[in-house]
């Protein structure tokens, strides 16, 4: 067992984890972040996405011990007035919503890199996330809306 500290949405969580513990399970079971979800267990659907610093990580493939001291953001850590969160809600970019936290975090990462992403940049950045309800048209609109809110022309 290893003692590590994860800073989750600004709050330090000191916890004991085994060598093989996944970041996904530690965030869900010990930090209470159930917006982080297992959809495939192999890093192929994006439902378990978190931001470490400003970088997206598939937490279902990440060993928790490697993130000692890391600053981790999950979707429930974002304010309702956050540009991306409010854009997704206003654009109807959630049906069942199960996968949407992953899209929200990927969008934050995209906008940090490209404040005014092109259509192809949106596609490239989000194509690793699966929305089985097929909310992709609304997600596209939400990303553009968030970009506009974040850095108005």
């Amino acid at each position: 067992m290893n003692e590590i500290t994860l800073i989750v949405n600004g709050t330090p969580h000191r916890t004991r984890v085994s060598d093989s513990a996944l970041l996904l399970d530690v965030l869900r079971e010990q930090a209470g972040c159930t917006s982080v979800r297992e959809g495939c267990g192999v890093g192929a659907c994006g439902a378990c996405t978190v931001l470490v610093g400003e970088t997206s990580v598939s937490s279902c493939l990440a060993l928790a011990t490697r993130y000692d001291g890391a600053n981790i953001t999950t979707a429930e850590g974002l304010d309702e007035n956050d540009d991306v969160v409010s854009a997704f809600a206003d654009c109807g970019a959630a049906q069942c919503g199960y996968c949407i936290p992953g899209f929200v975090l990927m969008t934050r990462e995209l906008l940090a890199e490209h404040p005014r992403p092109t259509s192809e940049q949106i596609t490239e950045h989000l194509e690793g996330n699966i929305c089985r309800c097929g909310t992709y048209p609304e997600i596209r609109t939400a990303v553009s809306t968030a970009a506009e809110r974040r850095s108005p022309r």
Partner: protein
């Protein structure tokens, strides 16, 4: 954000585009799903699965598994069979599926033993340590072997108690065909046709892959079996568990949370019978959580083979259609027999056709069981009839859009299966998509590497009938309301539109109407949340319960003496019963009970009826409560070097009667179309000798944002249903029916090749081009 009261209320009522219930909670991921609920100390369950497609179980060795630290118990199918007897066999159409296999195994991956342990990792380790000895039996890998071979997946057929019309099949032996539906009208063999087209079509098995994985928690409290589970069918599950454990319904409680998608995957008997049996056997809390790889084995969409013909007479009228349909239902029938009949009856398509002959069969094989999937078997037969009529139009030198339009069923027409058409505007849907994709403008088909084409297709499906819906409405004294129904919101938006219906009737704010999550201790019986039935059936019950509340309020208002001093508006005193609003309702309820916070309760039922099929002809004058009509139009480009298909524009139209919430209807149409794009171009389960080859999301391809057409246009067509709530019908499946054939027809238009097998992968297209 603040809105004017007038605008707020209108947007919140029927026809308004109000936002989905808890949109912000969904976006931030704070909606609590089943797997998110804390369960405290419990036994985590893992199952040992069969490595054989078809084999008798000689012995199950559990000693090594039991010796692992942290293992509470290991249970075999034989243990459960000894305890529960034949009740261990469950299923909606046939009671043929054991929670754990006990006499023989019927597919690779079938659960044989269950381990209960202190944590999931230990349970899985111990499940791997279970060792089973088998005596191999001849496997039935495909439809051909099943229909023509001498190995049988089941010794005899076992119809369940759910569908009375299957009773005659009880005890039938030496067959893999568990159900056959036959539709006969006129005599297609005696029709002298000017032109007949024929095809052998194949739609492969696919998987639903809702991103939320199935999870069930079961425990015993006060001699009752309680369960929290990911299900679309809480009322059905309660009955199944009561039958399995031989308990009165009052001693079984099934609760749900919002589902993270389902599409048919989480219904009927999935993890629930095993969870209930284990909780009851050991009188302790158990938690079953499927991994993605396990979820692939729980249920699938039926692969289907269809051999069909369509004939036009010398005058250009459709004179005959035939179809021989075989659904591969895998090792367990699930609801396959229902799928077989309900889609067999629409196999000729929504056209005026003189004579039809359809044989539709449900066939056991040694593969994972197939069950309900958005469309309920209809997309598979739509693939057949919409390819055939397209080909016939080409053969006759007719325009495929105009040819369909001429022959489509109209309001009042009798369909080939004998039921009249109402509120099914096929022509309106077809016209809408044709206009949207500018059908009249010929595509620039090209002569080089990139070829372009356009295609249309139409779909027809019956709503699940007969079914039962109940609603209980509790009106709170402050004019907010609490609606109790057993419809499960899994992303389709039922919690939102049911609140809109209540609010519209009572003239209150729909955001103050709360829909209680299905809980069989609290919410009344509802057949299932499936088959696009909830808007119409449960919506009717909800409208009725709100109307009943309105009548009740007006009666209470009439009883009350004038008390103008209470609100200072004498003209709106007790005897003025004409109008209700929130202020008035609060006054009426307060005056009646003399208390704040009091509640008024009403209840309502809506039940649909049908006429069973005639045994000889398969016809019925009312086979369904209503019809879904949909159409798809596509413009696309084919890269003849790579075989890749690029969708430039896809338009999808559905006749929904009346849109309760147009924004949610459009999302159902586009979401279904996107799922259909996967089925058309790449989505399929691959099995090799009964072994699932691509049952992980590394290997199983699903539509991503990259697969979106350049333009995707949802179109709402409204021809109100006489008996729908505000004229409305459902929409969950309408958009998926015609996607694959519309794309296939456009590919034919682009490169002149007719594909009959799905999916139309780049490899298939390149191979076909090279062998031309």
């Amino acid at each position: 954000m603040p809105e004017t009261p007038e605008k707020t209320s209108r947007q919140d009522w029927v026809g308004g585009r109000r936002a989905r219930y808890d949109a912000l909670g969904r976006v931030r991921g704070v909606v609590g799903h089943v797997g998110d609920q804390p369960v405290g100390t419990c036994a985590h369950v893992a199952v040992h699965r069969s490595t054989q497609p078809h084999a008798a179980i000689r012995a199950v060795h559990t000693e090594e598994a039991l010796a692992i630290d942290g293992v509470y118990a290991v249970v075999t199918g034989a243990d459960l069979h000894k305890r529960f007897g034949e009740a261990l066999l469950t299923g909606p159409a046939f009671a043929d599926q054991p929670a754990l296999a006990y006499d023989k195994v019927r597919f690779v991956g079938e659960p044989v033993a269950a381990v209960l342990a202190a944590d999931l990792a230990t349970a899985r380790e111990a499940a791997d340590a279970v060792y089973v000895e088998y005596d191999e039996l001849d496997p039935v890998y495909d439809l051909d072997t099943a229909l023509n071979g001498e190995s049988y997946v089941h010794d005899e057929l076992r119809p369940s108690a759910v569908f009375g019309d299957l009773r005659h099949l009880d005890g039938v032996r030496d067959t893999n065909i568990n159900y056959e539906y036959r539709l006969r009208h006129g005599n297609p063999n005696k029709v002298s046709g000017a032109r007949t087209v024929r095809g052998e079509f194949w739609a492969p098995p696919t998987h639903h892959v809702p991103i939320e994985l199935p999870c069930t928690v079961a425990w015993v409290e006060g001699g009752r079996l309680e369960m929290l589970t990911t299900t679309q069918t809480p009322s059905y599950v309660r009955q199944t568990i009561a039958d399995l454990l031989d308990l009165p319904l009052s001693r079984v409680r099934v609760t749900t949370r919002p589902l993270g998608g389902s599409f048919g995957a989480k219904m009927y008997d999935r993890l629930e019978p095993l969870a209930a049996a284990l909780a009851w056997q050991f009188q302790r809390k158990v938690r079953l959580a499927a991994s993605r790889e396990e979820a692939f084995l729980l249920t699938t969409r039926h692969g289907a083979a269809i051999t069909s013909t369509l004939t036009a007479d010398a005058g250009g009228q459709l004179s005959a259609a035939t179809a021989d349909v075989a659904y591969d239902t895998g090792a367990y029938a699930d609801v396959g027999p229902r799928i077989t009949a309900k889609s067999g009856m629409v196999a000729p398509g929504p056209y005026r056709i003189g004579s039809v002959d359809v044989r539709s069969r449900c066939v056991y094989t040694n593969k994972p069981s197939a069950g309900p999937f958005r469309g309920f078997g209809v997309p598979q037969v739509t693939w057949s009839h919409e390819s055939l009529i397209d080909e016939l139009a080409h053969e006759l030198g007719e325009d495929p859009y105009a040819f369909r339009r001429e022959h489509l069923l109209r309001e009042g027409d009798l369909a080939p299966m004998g039921t009249r058409m109402h509120s099914a505007d096929f022509v309106g849907c077809l016209d809408a998509v044709a206009e949207s994709i500018s059908w009249d403008t010929q595509p620039d088909r090209g002569t080089g590497r990139i070829r372009r084409g356009r295609g249309v297709a139409v779909g027809v499906k019956a709503v699940l009938t007969p079914t039962i819906a109940n609603a209980v409405l509790q009106l709170n004294q402050d004019a907010s309301a609490t609606l109790m129904i057993s419809t499960v919101d899994m992303g389709q938006g039922s919690d939102t539109i049911m609140a809109q219906i209540v609010a519209d009737v009572l003239r209150v704010d729909s955001r103050r109407v709360h829909v209680v999550r299905a809980d069989t201790d609290v919410t009344p019986y509802d057949t299932i949340t499936a088959g696009s039935r909830s808007t119409y059936h449960t919506g009717n019950a909800v409208r009725a319960v709100a109307e009943s509340m309105r009548v009740r309020l007006l009666a209470l208002a009439a009883e009350q003496p004038e008390q103008p001093e209470q609100h200072g508006q004498p003209e709106r005193s007790g005897v003025d019963t004409g109008e209700l609003d929130e202020e008035r309702i609060a006054e009426i309820v307060h005056a009646h009970f003399g208390a704040r916070g009091a509640t008024l309760t009403t209840e309502a039922n809506f039940t649909s009826s049908w006429s069973p099929y005639d045994k000889e002809t398969g016809r019925s004058e009312k086979v369904t409560e209503h019809w879904f009509a949909g159409a798809v139009g596509v413009r696309l480009a084919v890269d003849t070097a790579t075989g890749r298909v690029h969708l430039e524009h896809l338009a999808v139209a559905g006749d929904v009667g009346r849109a309760i919430n147009p924004a949610l209807v459009e999302q159902q149409l586009t979401g279904a179309a996107i799922m259909g794009i996967g089925h058309a171009l790449f989505d399929q389960l691959v099995l090799d000798q009964g072994q699932l080859v691509n049952g992980t999301l590394l290997d199983y391809q699903l539509p991503s944002i990259r697969d979106l057409p350049d333009e995707l246009t949802p179109i709402i067509v409204e021809s109100p249903h006489d008996d729908g709530p505000f004229g409305a019908k459902g929409v969950g499946e309408t958009g998926i029916l015609a996607v694959a054939p519309a794309i296939g027809n456009a590919i034919r238009d682009a490169i002149g090749l007719r594909f009959t097998r799905l999916p139309m992968t780049p490899e298939a297209i390149v191979t076909a081009l090279e062998s031309r």
